[in-house]
Symmetry: C2
Subunit: 194 residues, 2 copies
Amino acid sequence: MSPHTEESVARLTDAARRVVNAVVLAGPDAADATALAATLNAVAEELERRAPSREERMRRMWAPLDSRPHNLVDGPENPLAPPLRIDREQDDSVRARAVFGLPYQGPPGFLHGGVSALVMDHVLGLATIWAGDTGMTARLTLDFRRPVPLFEQVDVTARQVGVDGRKIRATGTISAGGTDCVVAEGLFVTPRPA
Amino acid sequence: MSPHTEESVARLTDAARRVVNAVVLAGPDAADATALAATLNAVAEELERRAPSREERMRRMWAPLDSRPHNLVDGPENPLAPPLRIDREQDDSVRARAVFGLPYQGPPGFLHGGVSALVMDHVLGLATIWAGDTGMTARLTLDFRRPVPLFEQVDVTARQVGVDGRKIRATGTISAGGTDCVVAEGLFVTPRPA
């Protein structure tokens, strides 16, 4: 259910993601940092030279509006994405899983709490879209119960739980080994008709 | 006030960040994706080959505990970081600014709400540390009032506002052009003495 992307572009994104990981792993003792930076800059320059303008790229990104392979949570075209593997359940709820690596670290050995917030914002919004009642996020509340481990599979759920006029509520969790680590609630508001 | 890092490593991180941006800009029509992916994989391989083990790297990351140049919000050693430029005010509150590019996009032309959440989680925690009362994040609440624009300067504030026993509260904002876009509150709990 994650967005579809040309395989060569997905591999390019994976390679950029691998570079991100390797830079964080190498850290302050990175070998040949100056030479490797030059190589990376040359790759970036080549991509930039032949890329569409930012305006053109943005126009294409949002046509059609429901195809978002560039998003930073599960997008196969975005090296910032962990990525999550997201599936749509039969009841239109969201189930996702991911293994977070070193770049996403907050406390030693655990996920940055802000990444949990990023993930929950994304999947709660998706749950409302899949339930057919999309709106803008108005409020997001996260309860952090246990730290989320790095380097092992983490399970994510989200579902719409109620609609009251223009207000939509969705709830979700991040769990590891069957134990809830983060419990989130989102309030979304449908725009007024024009 | 952002963490210090060797200049060649900061440049390597900047180059990786530029690659991330260029991959997102190029998108599904990326030129020479297969060849460029091979170059990126070769860079990653070289970094990985000479990097410390993950365990060793993590040990070094957290010594000393208050030096976190690898973090994904303002870390000069982490290509995932936008990065924010963070300053400590005279009253120990946090002031930060950033310009977010295409990889951080949520709705067309605006920041992903989850990135606002990531940023606020980070700076609210920092505000409690600078006030001398650090604890684990227990609850984070975000009110989204207006979308946060991409490609222009965004201002971030955070300050500790109260301590009640083991509970610490901090509040903060993300604003653009002087108007609050996101208002956040964090509740932190100091661990019980062992």
